[in-house]
Amino acid sequence: MPPWAFYLLPEPLPTPSSNNPKPAKRKKRLWVRLFKGLAVSLVLIVVLLAAGGFYAWHSLPKIAKWAIERSLPGAKVELKQVTLTLPGRITVDELTLHSRETGEQLLTLRGGTVTFDFQKLAARELTSIELVEPSIAITPGFLALFGPSQPNDKAVTKGGGGWKIGQVFSKYGELRITGIGPKNLAITSKFTFDLRGIFENEDQTLTFWDVLAIPGQGPPVLSLDLVTVVLSPEKLKTGKINSLTLDGGALSVGERLLALFEGDDGESEASPAQNFVLETVSINRININIEDERKIASDIQFALNTSLSNLPLSQAPSALGEEIQHIEIANLEILSPYDPLAKVLSIRSLSFEFSLAGLLRREIRSVQVTSPSIYVSPDLFWYMEDAQKRFGGQAGDSQSGQPGWMVKQFTLIGGSLILGSGGRTNYGLPLTFRTSAQDVSLENLASLRAQAVLEIPSQQYKFEQYQLEFTSQAGELRLAYPPNQNNLVGTIQLDVIRWRQYRAADAWVSVTFDQSGINGSFGGTTYKGYSSGGFSFFFNTEAPWIGWVSGKGLDLRQLTNVISPQNFQMTGPLDFQLQVDAQRALIQRIKGNMQTTKPGRLKISKLDEMLAKIPDTWPGLKKDSTRIALETLRDFDFDTCVGDFWFVDSQGILDLALQGPAGSRNFEIVLHSDDSAVGQWKKQEPNSP
């Protein structure tokens, strides 16, 4: 028997030998004993409680660990320290949760604080919970541990049966999601939240930043600068999230993104979270990069801005993927690879329509190019050559078996050509072009060029300054024609062309622009015959050019009627050829020759005026001989007519030799220009070739 038990024993019964009963005194003694017993018991309890408290005080981590493991049976807890600070604060240091099954680390906390009021503990209320630098690894194991069926969620989602928490917050946390969603996709993020008034149904905001989606290895396919989720507890109960806002970031569209969605037939069992409906989704300034081996494609970037509403989370990728995006690039300029000041192409507006899903299929819904100006100069062809080297001739990924890029609808309107002479001076050409095509394959650069036929619409052109007028039928402008040539070929048909008083019909002009210059050829019906020729403009500061024309079977009567209808007329078919050497608008040299192929007649009508003016007062013989001489000179039937000419800077010589049954007529017409000094050529008989 312990000594203190003595006080609890009943008073011993009086012995018969005493015979001195004192009932009152005996009763008093009983009460004293009872009091003493109670006091001892109380002390004992206090001591026990103190001992228990002392033990608990020093075993808080173990108790906490036991409690957590009891509430999360699948978790193994490591806890460095738990401190209770009165009147109502429990601080936890370095808490780590591991999966009991796999051993993977699910949650680490550098620390945490729970504040409470003893008086409200009975009502299951906590003042606040702070999580210090939580690092959460959301994996299937984590979801199994903290899934919706777990009682822990009641604390947040169900105020009635669980704990009621006034505030839950974390200033900085890290999140890593793996094994959920697309295969091999890891999502990392940093986050912060401050949840208050949960049980008053106040809207709550979760903020994430530096969100990265990394498929396997390599750079992320998606990076988001800022993600804001706003939710209200009441709506959350009905499976709705108020809003999701993505601000800033980049999405790489390519094979790696496509691989994430491969095998996702959409029929796989959706996780409960995927059943949530996003009432508002706002996406702002997400730069889309095209993942492509070719630099020009990988250089293409654009920002995605869109908003969607009432979007089921499970359908978000597909809905977002099919959302038609519009991008317009204004005043785009492509510069020479060698001269940063020389433009090769400028586009007033470049408009794209596409969907992200389409981009994954390498498909662009439509491209519209408005008012492009092609600057035809050596820089253009250097650029084409440079692009050819970079593309290697192949725009598609035929080696990897991937489909090439396809533009479903391509439209180009209001195009114009601007001629650069090699310097910085540009001259606009009076040609506009347009084109429209469906299903333009970008797989092969050569085939793309073959398809790049630019239509020159039918137009009437009038240039009063140059006394030039022509009406064109529809023509075409081709890049790299024939294939593998770095050039630009334009061909137009002209119904009528008039320069001064000269006309040609059914004419055509074909112009090839390449690295050396501009080469053209032309032809047309002229005065019952046919004339054709060509020209070459050389890219040089002085803008030199040469031209050549030859004609066959031209009707001399029509031609001379046009050249000098009142002065002279010739008949017969004419062949001719001439060459021109010029600089800008100044013709420096002309050289040519001509000959008739059948007999004809020369009539110098101008002499009729002289005949009419022979004075009647002249003696008969003088008058008659003059008349005969003038008529002999006026009319001449010829069998052959041969001429050659050269002119240099407004001076030169035309030699014309006519042979006929009535003799010969040899004319030497010397054109003098008083703009230049007297040349030796006028003094010395040149030996013409």
Partner: protein, 177 residues
């Protein structure tokens, strides 16, 4: 007196007969034409002078010797017709260095003229090419090559040009069309 009357009658008769004979017979043919058509050969030189309406500077109002004109471009322009006649006669051609090269010289004073004109032309071309080289910050040799290519391209059919048939092997040839 009777004899005189008879004689008169006889004379009248004879004259009448002669007249009748003349009237009754064909007149003798006088051929005023030629066995072949008359051929007239006319050689005519027609000089046409152009006078511009613009007022020219005093220096250009009257012909100025080419060599003394300050601007090489103007001097070359004044010389163009001469060079063209030399080219037409194959006296000169366009060389690989952007200069005119004499291929053959005519005899006499004209040959001298050809030589002097070509020298002056080349001096002016060099002056222009030096300016271009300085402006574009490239070597004169580079510009000469460039200009030579240009001159070759601009040459007319039949004019002499120097072309590179193999690397560093040059040959004079008449330009083909």
């Amino acid at each position: 007196m009777e004899k005189t009357g008879t004689q008169l009658a006889v004379k009248f008769l004879i004259l009448s007969l002669c007249l009748l004979a003349m009237v009754g017979c064909k007149a003798p043919t006088v051929n005023l034409g030629t066995s072949e058509p008359i051929k007239v050969d006319i050689d005519m030189r027609l000089d046409v002078y152009q006078h511009s309406n613009t007022t020219k500077p005093a220096a250009q109002a009257s012909p100025t010797p080419a060599a003394t004109t300050a601007d090489p471009a103007t001097r070359r322009r004044n010389r163009m017709a001469d060079i063209q006649t030399f080219k037409n006669s194959s006296y000169v051609g366009e060389g690989r260095d952007g200069l005119v090269v004499v291929q053959k010289l005519p005899d006499g004073e004209y040959g001298d003229t050809v030589r002097k004109t070509v020298e002056a032309e080349n001096a002016d071309r060099l002056e222009q090419m030096k300016d271009i080289a300085e402006t574009r910050k490239v070597s004169l040799v580079e510009i000469q090559k460039e200009q030579a290519t240009l001159w070759r391209n601009r040459a007319f059919k039949g004019e002499l040009i120097e072309i590179e048939v193999e690397p560093n092997v040059w040959k004079w040839t008449a330009k083909e069309g």
